[in-house]
């Protein structure tokens, strides 16, 4: 089956998931992103690539960081950005997702950045829109968050250079995490030999081993010798029924403290996709400590989103 994200020439038409994406395309996105980093240090923090292109940010779920960084990325590429806050608009009056998309297409949209609580929403849009339009998945349900996976990969490459000798530990609420899924896919594609997930059984999806990860329930064992630690946010808003005794108890067993961080390699980096719950999954002294690269992740995220948009916009 043809990858629905690629056009007939094998180039990126939409970005929906990292699963099954060719390695060359991922490397090209990361390389292009590094060229965009310097743009923000100049007098004019813009390049003219997407002049005249209209980018619609469709956020059916709340997000500040992702929406803002997509908006900044599009503006640094000179695109026109239209932000739609869907929770206060037509869908609450009964309009379907595809009707919304058709209406925005009639307003001459060129690119959609979509976040939706339903897994597969971005795929459905991509199948529906005209062939000159592009869809970027900014997070769909529990399924995928490809630009987050890419910025995580960019961050790891920036600090560790090479994936082929790394142990990466992903800790916390794997069950609800599209960030974890996208990260696991990209790490596998880039040849990471050991990807670990560390979580209580109740926060792991069934059959997670099939993704090519090692499962640990004991955080101390899971962190031993890790080069990269990715902490995930506890997604209380997605939890149906009690999966955990309490946030305090979770912190005791799965929170990252200085003492647990010391079990990883001395030069291990600590990442978090944000927003952080200090004292729930990560201790403040670690979040603000010397090994934390959480804020650089945000900066790299803009460059990665510029790379994706500029590769789509030229197709």
């Amino acid at each position: 089956m043809r990858n629905p994200q690629l056009n007939d020439n094998g180039e990126l038409q939409h970005l929906l998931t990292l699963e099954g994406l060719p390695r060359e395309i991922i490397v090209r996105i990361l390389d292009t992103a590094s060229s965009f980093l310097g743009v923000t240090e100049r007098e004019v923090k813009k390049v003219p690539l997407l002049r005249g292109v209209s980018v619609f940010n469709l956020f059916f779920e709340n997000s500040t960081r992702t929406r803002t960084t997509f908006e900044i990325a599009a503006k640094r590429l000179s695109a026109d950005v239209i932000n739609l806050n869907i929770s206060t608009s037509s869908t609450t009056k009964g309009e379907t997702l595809l009707d919304t998309v058709d209406n925005l297409s009639a307003m001459h949209a060129d690119m959609f950045v979509v976040r939706h609580a339903q897994s597969g929403a971005a795929h459905m849009m991509a199948r529906h829109v005209a062939s000159h339009l592009h869809v970027i998945n900014a997070g769909d349900g529990r399924h995928a968050h490809p630009t987050q996976g890419l910025l995580d990969a960019y961050t790891i490459r920036h600090y560790k250079k090479d994936f082929t000798n790394l142990t990466v530990a992903i800790v916390g609420d794997i069950l609800h995490s599209r960030v974890a899924r996208s990260l696991i896919h990209v790490l596998n594609i880039l040849g990471t030999p050991e990807v670990r997930v560390i979580a209580p059984q109740t926060l792991l999806p069934a059959g997670v081993e099939a993704l090519g990860v090692k499962v640990f329930h004991d955080m101390r064992k899971g962190l031993a010798g890790a080069d990269v630690i990715v902490m995930l946010r506890l997604q209380n808003e997605r939890m149906r029924g009690p999966l955990l005794p309490s946030a305090q108890e979770f912190f005791k067993y799965y929170g990252l403290t200085q003492e647990k961080l010391a079990l990883a390699k001395p030069d291990a980096i600590v990442m978090h996709p944000g927003p952080m719950n200090r004292g729930v999954e990560i201790d403040s002294s670690v979040a603000d400590g010397a090994q934390s690269v959480i804020l650089p992740q945000v900066t790299f995220g803009i460059a990665v989103r510029m790379a994706v948009m500029s590769m789509l916009g030229g197709q």
Partner: protein, 164 residues
């Protein structure tokens, strides 16, 4: 066809540029051939200001037609362009579109006092009102052919004719 010796043209450019540059001149090479040539000129002229390099991929006028170039390199201008006399360097001057893109990019770093252009070969057939102040030689190249600069492991520069 017989191509001129790039080393001879380069030495000639150095001779002609020497009285035209000052220690404050900012030199910028256009990736890749122009950057190689600029590295040579910069060294031989003994310029004090560090060399800059532009990859004009983000400024190309054929982006919407041809997409983003496959391998983009970061541009690097390690000096303040404001109020500075700049010398832009490319290997082959042809349609003028690359030079236009390079000038657009330079102005996003600031407002230079002036920009002059040096090229190893001018193959004519300009599509924009652009000219070079310093040219190694002019050369008519058959349509559909691409004239490029090569650099071997020893750093020696040669010209090469490819099918476009």
């Amino acid at each position: 066809m017989q191509l001129p010796d790039a080393e001879v043209l380069c030495a000639d450019l150095v001779r002609r540029l020497r009285p035209e540059v000052t220690p404050e001149t900012g030199m910028v090479g256009i990736h890749t051939g122009g950057e190689w040539l600029a590295q040579r000129l910069h060294r031989e002229l003994g310029l004090a200001v560090p060399l800059g390099a532009l990859d004009i991929s983000f400024y190309r006028d054929d982006y919407r037609k041809s997409g983003l170039h496959k391998s983009v390199r970061a541009s690097r201008i390690p000096f303040d362009v404001n109020a500075r006399h700049l010398l832009l360097v490319d290997d082959v001057l042809f349609t003028g579109r690359t030079v236009r893109a390079a000038m657009n990019e330079l102005f996003d770093y600031g407002r230079p006092e002036s920009i002059r252009l040096a090229a190893l070969v001018d193959r004519g057939e300009r599509q924009l009102p652009i000219c070079a102040q310093y040219v190694g030689t002019t050369l008519a190249v058959p349509k559909g052919k691409m004239l490029r600069l090569d650099r071997d492991a020893s750093g020696r520069l040669t010209l090469r004719l490819d099918d476009a």
